[in-house]
Amino acid sequence: MIVAQLEGQPLVRWDWVFDHLDDIWNATAEHLALTGIALGLGLLISVGLSLLARRYRKTYTPITWVTGILYTIPSLALFSILVPITGLSIVTAEVGLVSYTLLILIRNIVAGLDGVSPAIREAAEGMGYTPRKILLEIEIPLALPVIIAGIRIASVTTIGLVTVAAIIGKGGLGFFILQGLRRFFTTEIVVGAVGSVVLAVVIDLSLVMIERALTPWARAKVTL
């Protein structure tokens, strides 16, 4: 019976889509908010840990080791482990989403800062720049292309992961995918899947434009 229900169903029932534009819009907004919070917090933590790793080199290996393990744990498993503690809440979703951004962001921030030529740093020192000024005015701007490359990867993967959070009720467009699976309704699956991909592409392109605006002197080689 279920099978017959899916068989011969049109890929997208446009009348359903037009009837639910409001819901789709709200889900998209939730999707963006979840992604934005995850990236913001992830960036904050990553900058802190990256500076720590650069100050005390020995901490870099344990930092990448721990964030690497977090990265390995499947999101659905992490959500499941957190639910008994933090419930079906936005906290559960964000703890998971933030933890997946860390490895990518830290690697790119450290690589970007390390990539600044020592000659430039020395020249700045010679001109009387303090370490703080060197970091803020020399190193970070020069590392920006690599750092933004990391932010791009982190944002695209986070947008994908948000869909999984639908199972704890905080999934943005993932809600439609889950609902479509439960009701055997292809249109909903397609709306959720395509919506999430479109969102990822739009955010990625916006970040490319932001990078171009911020670093007019460089056309960066993007690390895949």
């Binding site: 279920i2 099978v3 899916l6 068989e7 011969g8 169903q9 890929l11 990448t64 393990i69 990265y71 390995t72 744990i73 499947p74 999101s75 659905l76 498993a77 992490l78 959500f79 499941s80 482990i81 639910v83 008994p84 997946y100 990867i153 695209v156 993967t157 947008i159 994908g160 992961l161 869909t163 999984v164 639908a166 199972i167 704890i168 993932g174 995918i177 889950l178 479509g180 699976l181 055997f184 292809t186 699956i189 397609v190 959720g192 899947a193 999430s196 991909v197 990822a200 592409v201 990625d204 690390t223 895949l224």
Partner: protein, 241 residues
């Protein structure tokens, strides 16, 4: 506190381990389908990537495959596999999960194999050619060993992604460890949800450790650095699942 004792009790109950819904059977299902999907994906992804990498073509394809792979969430791949599977007359459960897992494992293995073979130092390849090696010999004896750290790392990454996504198979009526999570959620049984999450996390970490051990054994000694080789490998298209 009560929650922790409930979890301990779950693991201490023999009937939770045995039978068709037991931990043992579900773990075996989970590992079995993941291994099968990986075997099929390796067979599909690696040979063409070796060929394209050796001939120096397909660079654009490599980048595109990885970008598409990253933008399409694994959950979406799995969900879209359901109507496809049903319209092909393959039904629920095994087939949609299998199709999704294969599709998911392809991009990182294809792209990293292609680029790593392509990035083998041209002068090394020239020297081998000058020594009279055939193209097949160059690929087998020079390029593949030199590229092996990256290729194996890509296999490891794909395997972890497959094990992770197999969990979602429970949403399309497949078994495996995801059943604990999905059933637990629908029955509002946090103990079962937690147990499922724990088992899946452990399995993913075990998969990572297993393939890391394989890498250390298989990569030729001259290519490993004193430091962990994984730090040297820049992988493309690694996504958390």
């Amino acid at each position: 506190m009560e929650f922790i004792t409930d979890v301990v009790e779950f693991f201490a109950t023999a009937s939770n381990w045995t039978g068709s819904t037991g931990i043992i059977e579900r773990t075996l299902d989970h590992v079995g389908l993941s291994a099968l999907s990986m075997a099929v994906a390796v067979t599909i992804a690696v040979p063409p990537a070796l060929y394209l990498g050796h001939t120096g073509r397909g660079g654009f394809l490599a980048v595109s495959v990885v970008n598409i792979g990253r933008a399409v969430p694994s959950f979406a791949i799995l969900a879209l596999a359901l109507p496809i599977s049903i319209n092909l007359g393959l039904g629920l459960g095994f087939w949609p999960t299998f199709l999704a897992l294969v599709a998911l494992a392809l991009p990182p293995m294809f792209t990293n194999t292609l680029t790593s073979i392509g990035e083998v130092d041209a002068s090394t390849v020239e020297a081998a050619r000058g020594m009279g090696m055939t193209e097949a010999e160059i690929l087998r004896r020079i390029e593949i060993p030199i590229a092996s750290p990256v290729i194996l790392a890509a296999v490891r990454v794909a395997a972890v992604q497959v094990v992770a996504t197999a969990t979602l198979g429970a949403l399309v009526a497949w078994g495996g460890l995801g059943r604990y999570i999905v059933d637990g959620f629908s029955q509002r049984d946090n103990v079962e949800v937690f147990v499922g999450g724990l088992l899946v996390a452990l399995l993913a970490i075990a998969t990572e450790a297993f393939f890391s051990a394989v890498e250390r054994r298989v990569v030729p000694a001259g290519l490993t650095r004193p430091s962990d080789i994984r730090a040297e490998v820049q992988l493309r298209g690694q996504v958390p699942v």
